[in-house]
Amino acid sequence: MLQPFSYDYMLTALWVSTLIGAVCGLLSGFITLKGWSLMGDALSHAVVPGVALAYLAGLPFALGAFTSGLLAAAAMSFVKLKTPVREDAVIGVVFTAFFACGILLISLFPAQLDLKSIIFGNILAIAPGDVLQLVAISAVCVAVLALQWRDLLLFSFDPNQARALGLPVRRLHLTLLFLLSATTVAALQAVGAILVVAMLITPGATAYLLTDRFGRMLLLGSALGAITAFAGAYASYFLDGATGGCIVVLQTAGFFLAFVFGPKHGLLAARRANRRLCLVRPSLEP
């Protein structure tokens, strides 16, 4: 059972996954409240051409990913502004186009680019330079969140009230978008483009089912992200390296446990409360 801990690459994979899980879990509270799941999914696909180009040009992958993610976000807001098409359709059109560009690049240069590691992540073979980039990204995200979390919270929860209170809504929107892109880039290494969105919403959604206090929800989401990422990376040692799959399976299982057994908002708790209500007021339909 302790065998994974005797390999350097496993130790690196374990602590890096845990770090990424914690940072994504922290942000996931905001994303869940804001209703930006589709945005997270879109950005995680949209960074692929940037990653491919960065690897081809020998640049840091984070730079390419980040540029491409921001370009996609800019394209989405431009198209949304100029057309009457619904926002979700605009997001769908833009991110699939970016993703297709990435796949095209990978299919044109199969020798230099590894499709599998971009799509599914490859944390077990992460390069030291990439670890450095991830740590830097995580540090920046945590710092920004630590400084701005109250404003971002109000903005995520109720943008109108945030505007009414005189908060710089436009800047908060961009900050959150920036944080989302940055964590997407980080999570890409751990679980790959397709499953990034799980890291960015599932821990937050789970925490949302378990507590009513926002501060607690953030910490809980972060803890859940860290624990599941650690356990998933550990399990993937025995499962031929499907790290992303393992992490996300664990996160989803956590969500279902909270959904069914949550003390206050769980399915069983709601049933119990319903029954009590019927006992108190027998005239009500169950």
């Binding site: 979700d88 359709a89 769908g92 699939t96």
Partner: protein, 284 residues
Amino acid sequence: MNATTLLEPFRHDFMLQAFAAGGLVAAVCAVLSCYLVLRGWSLMGDAVSHAVLPGIVIAYIAGLPLGLGAFASGLLCATGTGWIKRHTRVKEDTVMGVVFTGLFAVGLVLHVRTPSELHLDHILFGNLLGIEPGQLRQTAILSTIVLVVVLTLRRTLLLAAFDPSHARALGFPLRTLDTLLLALLALAIVASIQAVGIVLVIAMLVTPGATAFLLVRRFDAMLAVAAGGAVASTFLGVYVSFFADASTAACIVLVQALGFVAALCLAPRGGLLRRPRQTASSPA
């Protein structure tokens, strides 16, 4: 480049099959995309297409037809999302994200655990050029079913997609219609897996409808423009990928995306390169 070179793709059987399968799938997805774009269900195509993976792997292990497994798990994702949504306070898009990534991850882990001949690449990105006659037949049958049902019920489905509350007020069984649309969506995705794969089918389920929405005002015209445009861009994409030696699915999606950009610039009303006669009106 002379005419012989340009006609080269049409002299290979596998290319002709690719044109046929790609065109069919493009038409079906385009017709559905009109409804999804109006209904605001673009994420639904994304979710269902990812969610078919565990079904495919489990069907493979159990020796069942892969299409059946794919359909079942795609539908499970769509209905499961709806059910969970009704029993929790978490937002619908978040629930959908949690469910489809969870299903996809289960599929991934199962796939790694099962030594199999299933090529993950082919499920994810399609293998249009290597499509076999049996698969072509399956694609043709499924596409025909979806097309016939959608075109027969197009008015009813339109009302349900365009104005759900009005449809409910008129006494339409909205829940049944939604489930029907989801089942058709899952069928279309099953039919498309071989052609473009589950990742890029999302584009075929959004882009043609969005493009047509920019170009025309009447729904029947929107259906025709979406289907025609999608089939044309699929032909062009397959044709280009033959010469570029690049991913067929990516080429198809990029040609469709270019079509959207062209519509964005040149649309008769509100196109970016047109002189503004009036400000772009809100969705009619």
